[in-house]
Each structure stands twice: as structure tokens, then as C-alpha cells.
Symmetry: C2
Subunit: 202 residues, 2 copies
């Protein structure tokens, strides 16, 4: 007796869905059956969106954020941006949280990672020469190092500060301290230490 199973096309759909991060066997099965029971429209629309996204999207040749192929990203193409202000982030995905806070008016530079010898990521794997060229062509600019505040982020910030030191630019980094709305009870020791070190007058 053969064990009843999904038709081959459904099994293939389940295994493709299972490749997505955070999607296990059960979730993939649930999603596949949802597509099958929910009518073909949603499946076709997602299939078209996937193909269109990978076909038409590339990285911005200036900053490394996502952009329509052959074009600059919205920020680099925007004449209203302050071109003497560069915000250096690890990943392209770090750009939107900064945009959403609505405070920043400058340009970005996505490194494509952070220095982490244990993961095989060395300075030469990051988009650092291009950052130096951008800084060189904007004398007097400010470079904000908006990398993570963990060990690899700190190492990346120190390395970048050293590399940027021969250039005529001001290098700053994000303030460290208490997150908004957090009580003292939730803060870890390192956050508290940094909040104390960085205390400001009132």
C-alpha cells in the first residue's frame, strides 16, 4: 500500500516554501495548502512579484541600498538630501529604520556586512574603498558610523575611524544609552554603564 501524500507539485511547493528563513515543515505545509485552497490568484500574484522583484531590483551604485536596476536609489537621486552627510550602515536593511525615524536628511553607505574574522568577513570584503572615494570627493563632510553596538560593530567602527582619519571629514557615531521608554530594571549592565559614561547636562 502506498502512503497517501500530496501530489508532486504540492510537495515541490512545500519544499520551496520551507527554504524561506523561519519557515519549518509545518508552516510550509500550511502556507502551501492556503495557496491551494485560497484560489490561484494569490499564488500567481506572488509568483509574478517574486520574478519581477529579482529581475528589476539591483543595488544602488552609489550607496548599496536596493534600487531599480540601472537607477540610483530614492535617497541618492534626491537633490534635497544633504550630500555632505554620510550614514554608514552594515546592511542595506539598516537604512529603512533610520529613514522611518524621520530625522535624518543625508545620504547612506551600506558596507555589506561588518568585520567578523570568525565568520570570514574581513575589511576587504566590505565596501570600504568606495566609502573612502565618496568621502574624498566631499571634503568637510560628516561620516556617521551607524553600525551595531556589539563586538563586531565596535571593531568595524574602530577600523573605519582609522581608515577615515587621513581624510578631511568629521567621524561620529550613534549615541549609546537607555532606549526610549525603558525602565532601569530592564537595562543590562553594559547599557547602563554606557548611559552613565555618556550622561548629558540638563
Amino acid at each position: 500500500m502506498k502512503q497517501q501524500d500530496y501530489p508532486p507539485a504540492v510537495q515541490e511547493l512545500i519544499s520551496q516554501l520551507k527554504r524561506m528563513p523561519g519557515t519549518g515543515r509545518r508552516s510550509a505545509e500550511r502556507l502551501a495548502l492556503w495557496f491551494l485552497q485560497h484560489g490561484a490568484g494569490d499564488a500567481r500574484a506572488l509568483a509574478a512579484a517574486l520574478t519581477e522583484a529579482v529581475d528589476s531590483t539591483s543595488t544602488c551604485p552609489e550607496c548599496g541600498f536596493f534600487a531599480t536596476k540601472g537607477e540610483l536609489c530614492t535617497a541618492c537621486a534626491d537633490p534635497a538630501r544633504d550630500t555632505a552627510l554620510f550614514c554608514v550602515v552594515e546592511q542595506a536593511t539598516d537604512v529603512l529604520p533610520i529613514e522611518r525615524c524621520g530625522f535624518y536628511r543625508g545620504l547612506y553607505h551600506c558596507l555589506g556586512g561588518r568585520i567578523s574574522p570568525l565568520d570570514g568577513v574581513m575589511p576587504e570584503n566590505l565596501s570600504i574603498p568606495h566609502l573612502l572615494r565618496r568621502v574624498q570627493s566631499h571634503p568637510g563632510c560628516e561620516v556617521i558610523l551607524a553600525v551595531g553596538s556589539d563586538v563586531e560593530g565596535e571593531a568595524t567602527a574602530l577600523y573605519l575611524a582609522e581608515q577615515l582619519s587621513p581624510y578631511s571629514c568629521k567621524v561620529t557615531r550613534l549615541a549609546q544609552g537607555m532606549p526610549a521608554g525603558a525602565g532601569l530594571g530592564q537595562a543590562d549592565a553594559i547599557t547602563l554603564m554606557r548611559a552613565l559614561q555618556g550622561r548629558t547636562g540638563m
Copy 2:
């Protein structure tokens, strides 16, 4: 100043991913960026699998489980199955858990839901006439009602038992009692009551 945002094709991919059940804005964004950063291969493979699955999959004309279009499902097409044993389930998705226990050797019948007047599901919305025809053409068969043990499942089981009573068939239902591996402490009162009512000799 324009706020930096994803290219239109990426925004469309995010909104299509967000339609999937259990996928919020943040998960959809995370998945979309994973597809973009992970190379186009996975995106194209999922797009192809989605299209192929909805194009080639239909329901089995006999039992209502998923089947390749124009074919019977694996169980209905298997000559080794016991054709005098029907397991009636609410949804097609209930078939595989039963298959996976490896104990059942008969056929299935998917009702396509359960009687639930509050959700607008009445007996005429379920695949009941077809079940009665299948039972009629197999005199002396057994019909196992493997519907849920909640209120709607109980109502569906009672209605089916009544509809099946004129036919020459044995109607049974799944045993109710303690789940495997559960201690008394975790069992709710109704489960315990049913486990006591259904107690068996040793």
C-alpha cells in the same frame, strides 16, 4: 525630501508576501529582503513552484483530497487499499495526519468543512450526497467519522450518522480519551470524563 523606500517591485513583493496567513508586515519585509539578498534562484524556484502547484493540482474526484489534475489521489488509485473502509474527515488537510500514523489502510472522504450555522456552513455545503453514493455502492462497508471532537464536529458526526442510518454500513467514530504521553494533570475535565466513560478492560 523624499523618504527612502524600497523600489516599487520590492514593495509589491512585500505586500504579496504579507497576504500569506500568519505573515505580518515585518515578516514579509524580512522574507522579501531574504529573497533579494539570497540570489534570484530561490525566488524563481518558488515562483515556478507556486504556478505549477495551482496549475496542476485539483481535488480527487472520488475523495476530495489533493490530486494531480485529472487523476485520482494516491489513496483512491491504490489497489491495495481496503475499499470497504471510509474515513470521513472535515478537511483535505486532515488526511495526512491519519496517513502518517501508518495504521489506516482504507479510503478517505473529505467533507470540505463541518456543520456550523454560525459560520454559514449548512449540511448542503458539504460533500455529503457524494459520501452517501460511495457508501451505497459498497454495501457492508464501515464509515469512520474522524471529525473534530468540538461542538461543530459532534454536530456533524450526529448528522452524518443519521443520514447514513438507512444504508447497509457500520458507522463508527474515533475513540475519545487521554492523548498519548499526557499526565492526568494536563487533561481537562471533558477529556477525563470521556476517558472514564470509554474505559476498557485490561
